[in-house]
Amino acid sequence: MNKDIVESSIDNDFETLEANYALAFSDALMQVKKLAFADFNTLNYPSTKNEEWRFTPILAISKGDLSVFPVAVSANATLEIIVSDKDVNSNKIIFIDGHYSASRSNIIDDEGIKISRVLDYIKTQEGKFNSLPDNHSEPFSALNTAFFNDGICIEIFKNASIEHPIIIENIFTSAANKHFIQQRNMIIAEAGTQASIVFEYSVQANATAYMNILSECFVAENAHIELLHDIQPNYALHLINNTFAAQKKDSTFTCHSIATDGKLIRNNLSVRLEEKNAICYLNGLYIASDNHLIDNHLAVHHLVPNCQSHQLYKGVLKDKSTGVFNGKIFVHKDAQKTNAYQSNKNLVLSDTAVMHTKPQLEIFADDVKCSHGATVGQLDENAKFYLMARGISKENATALLTYAFASEVIEKISNTETKKRLNDQLQKKLGYSFEEL
């Protein structure tokens, strides 16, 4: 990447895109990108004056002289990259610095599922791509549409049930340090399907990662899709994670947003309940330490009658960290017999940590069951004393109670192996392990 380009404003960046990448994109896609870029120019990088970004300064990103163009492929080609154990039974999709790595991925031959590069998918089918309204309202989605040039599309064909979780892992090396990687994914679950998809991130030593990832999920009739955003402690990870889902009748969409620390994490999650009897479960756990920030913005759109949404978000804030929770529930005029629940509970474990929590309910139907609750507090002193009165040290009592608080979210994960792995990691993160004692 030429230095002038890196330092130029985003304005000139799009010209560069047109000049250098036009061949990679179809005319139709180029047109979409042009419009998205125009959107981004109007919206721009959000400042804290923007209500949706009030508590989340993104200076590290917007003023970071970061390039929105791909990392040069040669930069990481020779690197030794250790990919965690390949489970031969499960699909594992590996990206290195934003580039799909065919050699390191493990794609299983299965007629129920097709995994392809997102650009290849868009070439043949354009209908679903960028079709969700959320793509057009947020600056980071517009930026993603304008500049993405890789990502994965997972198609699960009618009535297929995929037994093992499909893993999408993003690995960052120091070659990506000055890049703001734009990745676009699509998950298309046809009627009657069942699958679970796990997003993982790992930042190598000396690397600082910036990523704007957008995943569009289409959950057809009677499909049951579970997503897990598994963000393990990555102190050099800056992540804008956009997940937009649309559900058809009798479907369930479950999304676990687990972030047990990261420098700056913003989850934008939006679910549209478009046909009756669709249910979504949105679970979240965030643990932040140091001066880190984890922000969860959720929107659930109840568009039709008889749908359910369940939100359970729990946070643990330590040191000088900041947590943000904003949960919007829109119950549209026709969405009678809606059941919508929201719970956000937070443990603030230091005097200098802060939590901003805001439920936002906009209800235009009258026959609706809706409940929400938010708490921000400390560990119960009585509980701590009870544990200490049995000989458990103060540190372990704190860790054990925090673990008990947080593991409720992990317990919602359906895959037992994944659940166990996350529980073990959670214990480690909190400095508590049953085995060690």
Binding site: F385, Y386, L387, A389, I392, L400, E408, L437
Partner: protein
């Protein structure tokens, strides 16, 4: 085993324990009786190390060590046990994991190697049988949704698991039906040895029919006002606490 001398403790400006003294030797069972609001639970909590109560005067020697110098967890590891009057519900922590953590820390404190998983399970099974608790309680969240009687039995179970030197039972009998009372008493009697001791706080004489104390003390307004043998409990049962109150107002 424990020697409490002229203990004064309370909260902020209010003194609750006003010169409490008591000696308990290994092998003994002492009972403390007294009207509500007299400071019995405050005594138990102060001995166990609850920070709510500030000790303003007095000293406590426990097994040759200065008890007041230790934090709650260290006191427990040294062999002091408090069966809570109101056991706390701990969502998300199972009794099994709780006990595993407690035993592990106690063993580490005493320089012992961690207990083998199998040995731990055998111990659990044995102690569960002692207090007649079903094993399904072990994997459930600690005390959450337990009935009053189940919580109290769980306290005795924990006591049995930890095998303390001195066990303080704070109104473990209140709210128990006769069967549960018998189970609790049976647990204590079976655990009793010549090397350990019990301090049983109760409001009623009922429990003392099952656990026969060597000494009975009447507590009133933050200190012991009368001591005697087990017949003192009978006397209190007959006369109630009013005569104690009157006697002490006259003084």
């Amino acid at each position: 085993m424990i020697s409490i001398k002229n203990l004064h403790a309370g909260i902020e400006e209010k003194e609750i324990l006003k010169g409490f003294s008591l000696d308990i030797k290994a092998g003994e069972i002492h009972a403390i009786m007294g009207p509500n609001g007299t400071g019995k639970s405050t005594l138990a909590s102060t001995l166990a190390g609850r920070k709510t109560y500030e000790v303003t005067a007095g000293e406590v020697q426990f097994n040759g060590k200065d008890l007041l110098d230790m934090e709650a967890d260290e006191r427990a590891r040294e062999g002091l046990f408090l069966a809570f009057q109101y056991p706390v519900e701990i969502p998300g922590v199972s009794t099994t994991n709780f006990m595993r953590a407690a035993i592990a820390e106690k063993r580490k404190h005493h320089g012992l190697a961690p207990m083998e998983a199998k040995e731990f399970l055998v111990l659990m099974r044995e102690k569960m049988a002692l207090v007649e608790i079903d094993k399904q309680f072990m994997s459930r969240s600690l005390n959450e949704g337990f009935s009053g009687g189940e919580k109290k039995r769980n306290e005795i179970f924990q006591m049995a698991m930890l095998n303390p030197l001195l066990s303080i039972l704070d109104e473990t009998d209140s709210g128990l039906d006769i069967d549960a009372l018998r189970i609790v008493a049976n647990g204590v009697n079976k655990l009793r040895t010549k090397d350990n001791a019990f301090l049983i706080i109760t409001h009623y004489q009922r429990l003392l029919e099952y656990i026969v104390p060597d000494f009975v003390h009447v507590m009133y307004d933050g200190r012991i006002v009368k001591s005697g043998g087990k017949e003192l409990a009978m006397e209190l049962e007959e006369k109630g606490y009013d005569w104690i109150k009157e006697e002490n107002i006259v003084q």
